[in-house]
């Protein structure tokens, strides 16, 4: 059935992750000491899959009977997912040891969620998007409550599941309306008939439902209710995964289903929707984060704000804003995984040492950790030589090109607001004396994950044009 060797090569990431999941299940059920094997095995398959994905960036091909595309922008997304998940797994080993709650399913669920994300980012069929979304979301619901003896984790899992199921309902209803009006589930057919279909109010309604469902997944403002509680209650490493790769996957779906607007310059009827959620998320996230003393909660609100910055690109809907979003997602993934990695190192057992006061005096006690935390905070705030600045810069450029200067202005204002709470952490680390005795566990593996994400953030910040050219060339093809 498949003769082309390029296609088989591009299929490999999916096959590797899929076979890896099955093998992990077999290992988990037959070997007692699976915690010594599974993390390294997961990192291995993520690394191999990331390398193969990025190696196939040059040719785009459609796999599995027109269901999934590989190469091009899907290659970049797959790279982000796999590297992000590998860093999270590396980060998890010591964290799980610290909590003393090892479940082998943790790694299997991380692998499955990555498979779901890969299905979403390459989808060529709306049903495929839904399959990937469900695979990812269900794994996340379970991962949020993986520490099942902890009350807050149970609460997080339950909240996430109920609201997530509600959002899934929106998505499937939107898909039904889109299928009803366009008589196809193939995304290419929908894109080619987009200008005709967009005049049909039912099609627009279906699209809006779809967008609402995914706005929930990216944690944009009116659909953000679950974010602070879920991010706070889940294990810190899981939060790192959900807030970065999960958001990236949802944005990849936005980019896929709005491809008619992005690439063939159809009229962007959804600009008001995206402009509204973008401006509200940015302002709400930045302003509410100011009053948060819990660092995980602060990062949750910052995640809402970042969803807003990226949604600016969706409102603008041109090719430079599209590459800006992808750049932003890559930068955001690594800076946030790094920040959550440090939070997971500082965190004590049973949700202690999460407050901002636990960071006081970190600059003296552990200069390396403090330096990296400062790096990630500067990057998230968008201070120039780091990746976060260029992410915002490219998205704002796209907005100005798309005639949405006022949105870029709101973006700049809310990034100025956000500097306060990011730098507050830095101030605590370097200029405050510690109030309490803080015990920091030696976490060499977590530290190495943090160092890798820190290096990626610096590299993206130093050579932004190289990465942006790569993304743009992948998009234009």
């Amino acid at each position: 059935m498949y003769q082309n060797s390029t296609e088989i090569f591009q299929m490999m990431p999916f096959i590797i992750i899929g076979a890896g999941i099955l093998l992990s299940i077999a290992v988990e059920m037959s070997i007692k000491k699976s915690e010594l094997i599974l993390p390294w095995f997961s990192i291995l398959i993520f690394a191999v899959s990331a390398v193969i994905s990025i190696a196939g960036i040059q040719q785009e091909s459609v796999l599995f009977g027109g269901m999934i595309a590989a190469g091009g922008k899907a290659a970049i997304f797959n790279f982000i997912f796999n590297v992000g998940a590998a860093l999270v797994v590396l980060n998890s080993v010591d964290y799980i040891k610290k909590y003393g709650t090892y479940y082998g399913e943790y790694y299997i669920l991380v692998q499955s969620s990555v498979l779901g994300m890969m299905m979403m980012s390459g989808a060529k069929d709306i049903i495929m998007i839904f399959m990937g979304l469900e695979l990812m979301s269900i794994c996340f619901y379970v991962l949020a409550g993986i520490n099942r003896k902890k009350f807050s984790a149970n609460e997080a899992s339950m909240k996430y599941f109920l609201l997530g199921a509600f959002a899934t309902g929106f998505v499937i209803y939107g898909i039904a309306l889109i299928y009803g009006t366009s008589a196809t589930t193939k995304i290419d057919d929908i894109i080619s008939g987009f200008n005709r279909l967009i005049t049909n109010p039912l099609f627009v309604a279906g699209f809006i439902f779809l967008l609402i469902g995914f706005s929930f997944k990216i944690a944009a403002f009116p659909f953000h209710m679950w974010v602070p509680d879920v991010y706070q209650g889940s294990a810190t490493t899981v939060t790192g995964l959900m807030s970065t790769t999960g958001k990236t996957a949802a944005f990849s779906v936005f980019i896929i289903i709005l491809a008619a607007i992005f690439s063939t310059h159809s009229i962007n009827k959804f600009t008001p929707y995206f402009a509204a959620i973008a401006s509200l998320s940015m302002l709400y996230g930045s302003i509410v984060a100011i009053s948060q003393d819990n660092v995980k909660r602060m990062l949750a609100y910052s995640s809402i704000a970042h969803a807003g910055y990226m949604a600016i690109g969706l409102a603008a809907g041109n090719i430079s804003s599209e590459s800006g979003i992808i750049f932003y997602l890559a930068a955001y993934t690594f800076m946030n995984i790094g920040a959550f990695g440090i939070v997971s190192i500082i965190e004590g057992e049973n949700d202690t040492q999460l407050g901002i006061s636990s960071y006081a005096g970190l600059g003296n006690r552990n200069p390396v950790l403090a330096a990296f935390m400062a790096l990630f905070m500067f990057a998230l705030a968008g201070i120039p030589p780091l990746a976060g600045f260029f992410g915002k810069y490219y998205v704002f450029i796209g907005a100005i090109e798309g005639g949405l200067t006022w949105l870029a202005v709101i973006g700049v204002i809310s990034s100025v607001i956000s500097v306060y709470f990011y730098l507050r952490v830095v101030v605590y680390m370097y200029f405050r004396e510690p109030q309490e005795e803080i015990k920091i566990y030696s976490d060499n593996l977590s530290l190495s994950a943090v160092v890798v994400s820190g290096l990626l953030v610096i590299i993206f910040g130093l050579f932004p044009d190289t990465l942006l050219n790569l993304i743009t060339s992948a998009l234009i093809r």
Partner: protein, 122 residues
């Protein structure tokens, strides 16, 4: 059209009247002389123990959940098995191998449940 259904409605009416009569006539016509022993819950002549609203473990949900594995298996395998001769003539081994892979994936899940003690009830 609707007249064809009149006998059915008649039967329904008769059945509900009969059912109601059986249930309520004994209460209306029967003598009602309760005493303490009579109104006790019947437990084979023994005195009742404990309360009636006790919680019962619903471990059966596990079996119901695991049944989904076989449910999906049947949905896919049955049509395939019915058409297998035709498929085999057309595609050769390709008609067999993907289903085999599917079954391996599915059964791996079942073996996992079994090894993890999902079928142990206590």
């Amino acid at each position: 059209m609707v007249t064809n259904y009149i006998p059915i409605f008649l039967v329904l009416l008769a059945a509900s009247i009969f059912g109601a009569a059986v249930v309520f006539s004994s209460r209306i016509f029967g003598p009602l002389r309760p005493n303490k022993v009579k109104i006790m819950p019947y437990e084979s002549g023994k005195d009742p123990i404990g309360t009636t609203n006790e919680r019962i473990s619903i471990k059966y949900y596990l079996v119901a959940m695991l049944f989904i594995v076989f449910d999906i298996e049947v949905i896919y395998v049955y049509p395939w098995a019915v058409e297998f001769k035709k498929l085999f003539a057309q595609y050769g081994l390709f008609a067999f191998v993907p289903m085999f892979i599917f079954l391996v994936v599915l059964e791996l899940g079942f073996v996992y449940i079994f090894m993890k003690g999902g079928l142990r009830w206590d």
